[in-house]
Symmetry: C2
């Protein structure tokens, strides 16, 4: 098993490996040349707002319709050299990843994303081809997840920083919390596992093969629609896999006061992962169990009959605490700590 | 007139003047020593949540009650060395400023802040005395503005970056937009003008006097409650003064397709500003007209009789475009551009 990390590997001394200014082409003007308001205009003009947007970008704040009477809200920050590298990812991929990370959190509550707010910090010498790529990526992923970007902020910073807040709609359902697992529930997963970690391993080894795996590291594919589907099917608990399958199941187990046993033979190890593992000399199952950032969804259901199409049963809720794999203590149980790796 | 800037002055080459690691005392452990989850625990444990918080920090996302059926949402990012300096401001002051900046935007729509989401990026060597101070400041200002912090994110970054999203409640009223000024309306202001710019001038000159003015630069005092009061009184347009009085009135004038004439004799120039102006050899009225970051509120009303207590009439909406002072072209009309200064 490998100790995969869900983010880009920083240098051992904590410095960033990619703290250089973003560059694209020498012909692109910079954000300081065209100015803040022109950049914002390029990011917002002509974009299609969701039906729930009452007031979009341009005023002091946005106004979003919330028919449910409750709104799901979550926020995430991505930092250049820490959560993405502009020498590995295109600006468009970074934008997509930023939306996916917050959108997956909304889905993991059983909700549908309705609105996003995006703050971008970047150096003044950032080419507008980079900010254009980022905003195109943001809007592309929003088109996948649902909702629209209703507001944001643009500031000057030393490295590229993106902060995304996502709002979501539960459509009258109760939120699906992490604490709802009950002994006897089955545990299932929707979406890909291990792909981002496999891509990271390829990047780290400098192996330019398996483009789909490399792309999966740059842009996760959260199964957004499966969040509300699982909630409607009676999911008792749910989370998205941001830190790693074992680590995130551990948060469910801990919050619910139970144990979770995974059957390794029920885990899908995609053939692409086996090929990547061969190339870098690592174990694909380690990526599936320990790799984060794919933003798959894991959930528990009262019975196998409740598990909707698109989900794969991988284990069961048991008495105890923590996560076991085939009854044995699980590796990679520590989880991701932003300051420990 | 001075060309006051609403943010800390960066060096002419665009580099940050305060990009050093935050330090407090050599006895404070660092965030990397105690870890992400311990820092988050210290930021959230025992804090009082608003009545509207259905699910607070700790799950994939928060859930907030929205009785109105619409939610106001806005986001702002603050960057060390750009929007605050840890050699001028205490961490607690930085936290308060971060909340105030977004909370004032909610008030400027005529709404009451109900919930905040806060993302913090900081270097691994940041002392927890700094993160504790920041989070104490966040919660202190939330107690002033109303609402509570319902979620957030903590990541590693090269410089301290804080991103705050604020949600707000209009209590059934229409939002007060920037575009509602009509010819003949009176224009009024609530809250302080020029204080932040005066404090910046003192800091810039290295003058350690007038502590209230210095503090006003580090922590704005938005008149949160006047936003809903103005909305209830029928304000036709409203904004907060983040970039400077003339600059922000310009956005109202432009959005409304009108002109605004300010009477300089109606502007309150507080005696502390006159003292500060004497000390640094600048003009206090320049700070009042051009200084940003005090997050006062400016609004237009159909008639003087509509203007609520706590507001001072400073001008009138006229035909034309842009802002004039005593009928003459206004200085500092350009507004703040994050990448031009």
């Amino acid at each position: 098993m490998v100790a995969s990390t869900p983010a880009e590997r920083p240098e051992p001394d904590g410095s960033d490996v990619d703290s250089t200014l973003p560059t694209v082409s020498e012909t692109s003007p910079t954000v300081s040349e065209i100015g803040e308001f022109a950049v914002i205009d390029r990011a917002t003009r002509g974009r299609v707002q969701a039906e729930t947007t009452i007031v979009g970008p341009g005023d002091d704040a946005a106004l979003v319709a919330v028919a449910d009477g409750r709104v799901v809200a979550t926020t995430d920050m991505l930092v250049q050299g820490r959560h993405f590298r502009l020498d590995w990812s295109t600006p468009e991929q970074v934008g997509r990843k930023a939306i996916a990370q917050s959108g997956a959190d909304v889905a993991a509550m059983g909700a549908r994303p309705t609105a996003y707010l995006v703050s971008l910090g970047c150096p003044p010498a950032t080419p507008i081809a980079v900010t254009d790529g980022l905003t195109d990526g943001l809007w592309l992923e929003v088109a996948v997840s649902g909702g629209s970007i209703v507001g944001g902020d643009l500031v000057q910073s030393g490295q590229v920083v993106i902060s995304v807040t996502a709002l979501g709609d539960l459509a009258g359902r109760p939120p699906v919390l992490r604490s709802g697992c009950r002994v006897g529930d089955v545990v299932a997963v929707a979406g890909r596992l291990g792909w981002s970690a496999a891509g990271l391993a390829l990047f780290g080894a400098g192996i330019d093969a398996l483009p789909d795996v490399l792309a999966a590291h740059c842009v996760p594919s959260p199964p957004y629609e499966q969040g509300p589907i699982a909630a409607a099917a009676g999911a008792t608990a749910m989370a998205d896999v941001s830190d790693g399958l074992v680590a995130d199941l551990n948060t469910l187990a801990h919050a619910s006061g139970v144990g979770i046993d995974i059957r390794s033979t029920d885990l899908v190890v995609d053939p692409e992962l086996l090929q990547a593992a061969d190339l870098v000399g690592e174990h694909a199952l380690g990526w599936v169990l320990g790799g984060g950032e794919d933003h798959a969804l894991v959930a528990s259901f009262v019975s196998r009959d409740d598990v909707p199409q698109g989900w794969t049963v991988i284990g069961v809720v048991i008495e105890g605490d923590g996560v076991t794999v085939d009854g044995a203590s699980a590796p990679n149980a520590g989880g991701w700590d932003s300051f420990q790796r």
